[in-house]
Amino acid sequence: MSASLELSLRAAAVAAPAPSRSYWLVVWRQLRHDPMALAAGLVLLIIIGAAVFAPWLAPADPYKASMIKRLLPIGSPCFLLGTDELGRDMLSRLMHGGRLSLLMGVVPVLAAFGIGTAIGLFAGYVGGKVNMVIMRVLDVFYAFPSVLLAVAISGALGPGMSNSLLALTLVFVPQVVRVAESVTTQVRQLDYIEAARMSGAGAFSIIRVHVLGNVLGPVFVYATGLLSVSMILASGLSFLGLGVKPPEPEWGLMLNTLRSAIYVNPWIAALPGALIFVTSIAFNLLADSVRSAMDIRR
């Protein structure tokens, strides 16, 4: 994690003038010619598509249980991927499960991206004592291992989806702030910011026009790297029973409820986790590609 942070910071330090529209075009072109990025993007597109269109595509009702059709093996007639411990169609549940799993993985990162960038910009731009106080307060969060912090917060708040979303956001915000703050502090000292201030630009427009463009890149790269961590943690919280509640389909929760089935039908029990794994690896590969595509300015 720290190595990637360093990389993105180094990229930002060199990228002094705010990136223009053509910069993002170059990044996009670079990504389009990266086979790894294309493969990861395709996998993600399929998974996200299956989740988004699950209500129309799924072959069966994900909630409809049947006592006589429990734990049917993969490839059974009518049940392409078998059935779960309550006789519900696995394929439909996995497709529907993607909705909540992806939502719970992506939303905390998006929220942390927004909140963290705002706090980081503010702290970095204002500087001085205010910056020090903000950063020292956030240092406290670094005294907790992230899984423990997520479990502790959502455990104290009580089980539930919104509580685990809140917990994950709280885990990621300090990390994003650190990246945004350090880039802002670097950029703020550059001459062209001073020039903008001299010519009478207000703090808000300096941040919006001159600072934000430089900060967004590294923070964006960092946030894409968080996506896979967030997926794993979010499903992990549900796996512990702290996130989504049954009978809602969600990959982590399904992994939990199917745990006792490993003696009867291990493949079925392993399926939801395999999807978490595939999604997380695709997010990671894509993040790596984005990182190297955005480093081209070096």
Binding site: A3, V140, L240, A269
Partner: protein, 317 residues
């Protein structure tokens, strides 16, 4: 050097204090009254008042914190609401099991990660490099609770080599250094070791590949130093960074083990946290989190102190 250590120690005090504050404040995040967990809903007024004063809940919050901290420093973390036993005793036995698991996982993960990373860095662009890269990507992307499940299916159900659950025969939670207990340790430790392995492999690979391109390595080779002697220089230069990353990872393992412990029914802090959360046992939750985080703080402190011992340049800054 001595001054540096003192400085680090002093710097750790506010961090440790703030950890105690966060652990304490967690109770107030919880919805409803913590008393609900102890007292029945229809308890008469005088019982509630008596319970409040027994648990110190009738005093202002800062006073409660002060009293709690004072007792915590003396090793008294209160009484578990669920079991009625002392929290300190419960946490200590669970923490020792977690530390054992995390320690073994860290040892394995860091060792394999260093070897793989060094090989990949040395043989940049070869098949070893590609294998190491794939392993490291898998290591950082895999949901380890799922890996635990898969390993159980393979090595415990299909091939009955290792037990799937518990820390010892007959569900004993006391650890002993014998073959039977070690067999219980294999699968959870292996599962947990995958995360640090991936990250260390990635770090070491990048460091070694970077180092090999530096001029001083060319100079050493030009002077006719053997491969082993050059490697010693590289190892010495990469060690501080690897140590820092490894230290952080060992700390993360203490948190990550919560999920793996749940998969393998390992009697550690994950089990304790589960009990605490679902039975709304606030003293137990506070105590477990406080002790785990203190270990994390101490670990970070140790890494900070060890680093300049390896690389004296760091101690002077």
């Amino acid at each position: 050097m001595f001054a540096y250590i003192i400085k680090r120690l002093i710097y750790a005090i506010p961090i440790a204090l703030s950890v105690t504050v966060v652990s304490f404040v967690l109770v107030y995040l919880a919805p409803g009254d913590p008393l609900n967990a102890i007292a029945p809903a229809d308890a008469p007024e005088e019982v509630i008042v008596a319970l409040k004063s027994a648990y110190g809940l009738d005093k202002p919050v800062p006073v409660q914190y002060g009293l709690w901290l004072l007792r915590a420093v003396q090793g008294d973390l209160g009484t578990s609401i669920a079991s009625g036993r002392a929290v300190t005793a419960e946490v200590l036995s669970a923490v020792s099991n977690t530390l054992l698991l995390a320690g073994m996982a860290a040892l394995g993960g860091v060792l394999i990660g260093c070897i793989l990373g060094a090989l990949a860095g040395y043989r940049h662009g070869t098949w070893i490099d590609r294998v190491a890269t794939v392993i490291s990507v898998i290591g950082v992307s895999i949901p380890h609770y799922w890996l635990g499940l898969v390993l159980t299916i393979v090595f415990s159900i299909w091939l009955p080599w290792f037990p799937a659950m518990g820390a010892g025969p007959g569900g004993s939670s006391e650890w002993l250094w014998d073959v039977e207990h070690l067999r219980h340790l294999v699968l959870p430790a292996l599962t947990l070791s995958v995360i640090p392995m991936g990250i260390i492999t990635r770090t070491v690979r990048a460091l070694v590949a970077d180092m090999l391109e530096q001029e001083f390595v060319t100079a050493l080779r030009a002077r006719g130093l053997s491969g082993v002697a050059v490697f010693r220089h590289i190892a010495k230069n990469t060690a501080p960074t690897v140590l820092a990353v490894a230290g952080l990872q060992i700390g993360y393992l203490m948190g990550g083990s919560i999920l793996v412990e749940t998969v393998f029914a390992w009697p550690g802090t994950g089990f304790l946290l589960n009990t605490a959360i679902f039975q709304r046992d606030i003293p137990l939750l506070q105590g477990t989190i406080l002790v785990l985080c203190m270990f994390f703080v101490v670990l970070n402190l140790l890494v900070d102190i060890l680093q300049p011992l390896i690389d004296p340049r760091m101690g002077r800054g």
